[in-house]
Symmetry: C2
Subunit: 455 residues, 2 copies
């Protein structure tokens, strides 16, 4: 039994939904179908989720939101009509949205959650109706009834294990289950949404709970690529990678499949396959626990900008037991996680994602490091990028660091930081943001173009 998740572009139009139906029809083991809200049909289009956010914002400030509501309804109406459905689904969706708009607005976040989640929820109802209309046994299942339990606010939304037993039952239901992605319910029945892109999480949770043989994640690309196709021309496809490799790459900037979504599948060792709705016969990318590693040590190269470095100098820091720990305590007091902490004899630096920094936090950190830790010098520097090479076989490969460093040197860029040692799966170079594109291309040439040329 497989769990299949279809992303926004896969369910953006009647034409796309027909492809989805064909995909489901072609493999009887595709039983649990998780769907997103209708996404963009073309690059200038607006996602239904974005229309819903506009609608909710208008409603929250008490303005008339009828035109925004009509825009949302129009998207579904168009899809339903092209799918040959009668008008009853339109009535269901309009009633649902008007009910949500009349909900209590005291907690604007919960109100927003409810409106946003309607995108997936109504699309699931619509797709279930379409599958029925073409003769398939398909049922829409609401996450509340299905058992997708989440924790309470203000905690960061996460699924609760208590729901798993009920979710596992989905496996035994007759026919195809159409399940909306992106949201769950607290024990007292309050709707909460996952982070954006959270339909991937729903699919992964369902695959884990039902013990699926495979979690198929349908997107609009044939596979995960070994480098960002916007930077490197026609990068190689990755056919198989491990969970660790995917996590390292997604953490370092690959947006294909977020590590949070990978987690439930990883914990139950459910293989994940990234596939293309528009080209379902393409092999896709399998994400598995272990893989055969060929001669190619690097599976992918990721780059991410938006890093700052906190530099701290203090003479004889090396003989001061506890200095590093106290520096990290100051960051922890500001709720700032750190990425890397290269240290020297008299100095230590901490690399931090800019998103965790504010002017106030920076000022407090500088003050405390100077005063509490009696540092000789402390300052922030900005505009760093981290470039990460990922591959299970990397550390066994003698000369890999030399090749990478040489490829970087060729561009004229200087290496600001290297983190190698803890994991066997990745090698991180800190560089100036301005050098990112050149470095990424040069590393790609070294590890992929050369490799291909050698074959």
């Amino acid at each position: 039994m497989k769990v299949c998740k279809f992303g926004g572009t896969s369910v953006a139009s009647a034409q796309q939904i027909k492809k989805v139906a064909n995909i489901i029809h072609s493999d009887s083991s595709r039983k649990i179908i998780v769907v997103s809200a209708p996404g963009k049909r073309h690059s200038d289009d607006t996602k239904v989720t974005d229309l819903l956010i506009l609608l909710a914002e208008k409603a929250l400030i008490g303005q008339d939101a009828e035109s925004e509501l009509q825009q949302v309804l129009a998207r579904y109406e168009e899809i339903a009509e092209e799918l040959g459905l009668d008008g009853s689904m339109n009535t269901v969706i309009e009633k649902d949205l008007r009910e949500r708009l009349s909900l209590d607005k005291e907690d604007p976040i919960l109100f927003m959650d409810s409106l946003k989640a309607s995108g997936e929820d109504n699309n699931a109802k619509l797709i279930a109706a379409y599958l029925q209309s073409i003769g398939m046994e398909a049922t829409y299942v609401c996450p509340k009834e299905g058992g997708l339990l989440v924790n309470e606010r203000p905690q960061r939304v996460q699924a609760l294990p208590e729901g798993e037993e009920l979710l596992a039952e989905l496996r035994n239901r007759r026919g195809i289950i159409v399940f909306p992605g992106f949201f769950g319910y607290t024990k007292d029945g309050t709707l909460r949404t996952f982070n954006r892109g959270g339909s991937d999480i729903t699919g992964s949770l369902l695959a884990a709970a039902t013990g699926a043989e495979l979690y198929e994640n349908f997107t609009d690309v044939d596979s995960v690529f070994s480098a960002n196709p916007n930077v490197v021309e026609q990068p190689c496809a990755i056919h198989t990678m491990t969970y660790r490799e995917m996590r390292e790459l997604s953490y370092a900037g690959f947006t294909v499949f977020h590590e949070e979504a990978l987690r439930p599948a990883f914990l139950r060792s459910i293989p994940v396959c990234i596939k293309n709705t528009n080209n379902p016969s393409a092999r896709g990318t399998m994400i598995v626990k272990e893989r055969e590693c060929g001669s190619q040590p690097v599976v992918g190269i990721a780059a991410d900008d938006g890093f700052s470095t906190l530099f701290v100098d203090k003479y004889l820091m090396n003989v001061e037991i506890g200095f590093g720990r106290r520096l990290l305590q100051i960051l922890e007091d500001e709720e700032i996680p750190f990425e890397h902490t290269p240290s020297g004899i008299d100095n230590m630096s901490v690399i931090i994602r800019d998103t965790f920094l504010t002017e106030e936090k920076e000022a407090r950190i500088l003050h405390r490091v100077k005063e509490d830790l009696d540092a000789d010098d402390v300052y922030f520097r900005r505009d760093y990028s981290m470039v990460v090479l990922v591959g299970e076989r990397m550390r066994d490969t003698t000369g890999l660091t030399a090749r990478a460093a040489t490829a970087i040197a060729k561009t004229g860029a200087s290496i600001q930081m290297i983190n190698q040692g803890s994991t066997e799966v990745s090698l991180v170079f800190g560089i100036h943001k301005k050098d990112e594109t050149d470095v990424l291309r040069s590393l790609y040439d070294e590890f992929f173009q050369t490799a291909i040329a050698r074959v």
Copy 2:
């Protein structure tokens, strides 16, 4: 005015002490002379300090130590006789040693300190007498009278700033001051010794307190070498280096001049010159605040073994704020300083000098990391060496990491850890101990032989 320190081999025999007298005589600015105890005269010889330790150990366990005492006295007698001194100095030294042996043994560490320190103390008296005998105006100054104040036990021995004013007065005394190295006195008059090799510290303290124009440290080598001459054949001499470069090299295994001894001179910007008693016209190595950096980015390559790595794995460590800080806290509770902490998405490792680890500490650390931090996996691995490239201009040099990593790859060794980023002065590679010699030679070839060939 210069402060000159003469190490153990420089004052090991009458012949050597005559060289010292010539060196002092040849430059009237050499005013303050710090001397060690007589060292080895040849490779099979025993240092007077080691004879004194044997003597003190015998005395401490209540055994007859007359033969050990006679061995010590014989060394001084031979020197005095060959220097043409009359027997009065022998009487002084014997009386002094018998007095020390009769001291209270309740605190065996202080008793040991007093016996060990006699090596420098009596040698200073003897050398002062010899200088007088050849017509020089020279006075022995006892550190208690001179003002070398140190802190109380059980603190690690360190000079106290309160003594500095008195020490500074040495500058204004007539003639040459002969000052024994290696020890000072607490405020209540208790003798305490610095760490072994502590005569370098005495010299540095005196140079700093008196504001000397130069601190000359006489040893038995023409200069500091760019790599260990026991590993690399005829390594280049370093003519000038900065305090930072010297500190990084000594921290990483260069034993020529310990960082603790460098500290007082560094803090007052007193230049230090390492010179050879047996070849005083050789240029030596100057250690200064700033230096002209030529085209050569690396000034020296050091290697040190005896490192272990603590590996910690925990799934989703990256989203757990405070994990790194809590791991370092556990090490701090065991009073263990750390060298480097490379970290990955789900793991962190800490590189530690073996000298700080015991079986009990390791067991407690493993238990706490597992229990308190709920780690998935935690273990130690042993037998790492750290190889350090040092040079002020290293970070400005594009491609340096590539050259170093390529030189390491050539040996077939795999790089286990890299620390680059915090300091601009060093680049650290962690390797397996078995690869150390090959890696050091290959790096030397890359950065020194090639450089010479290019000139």
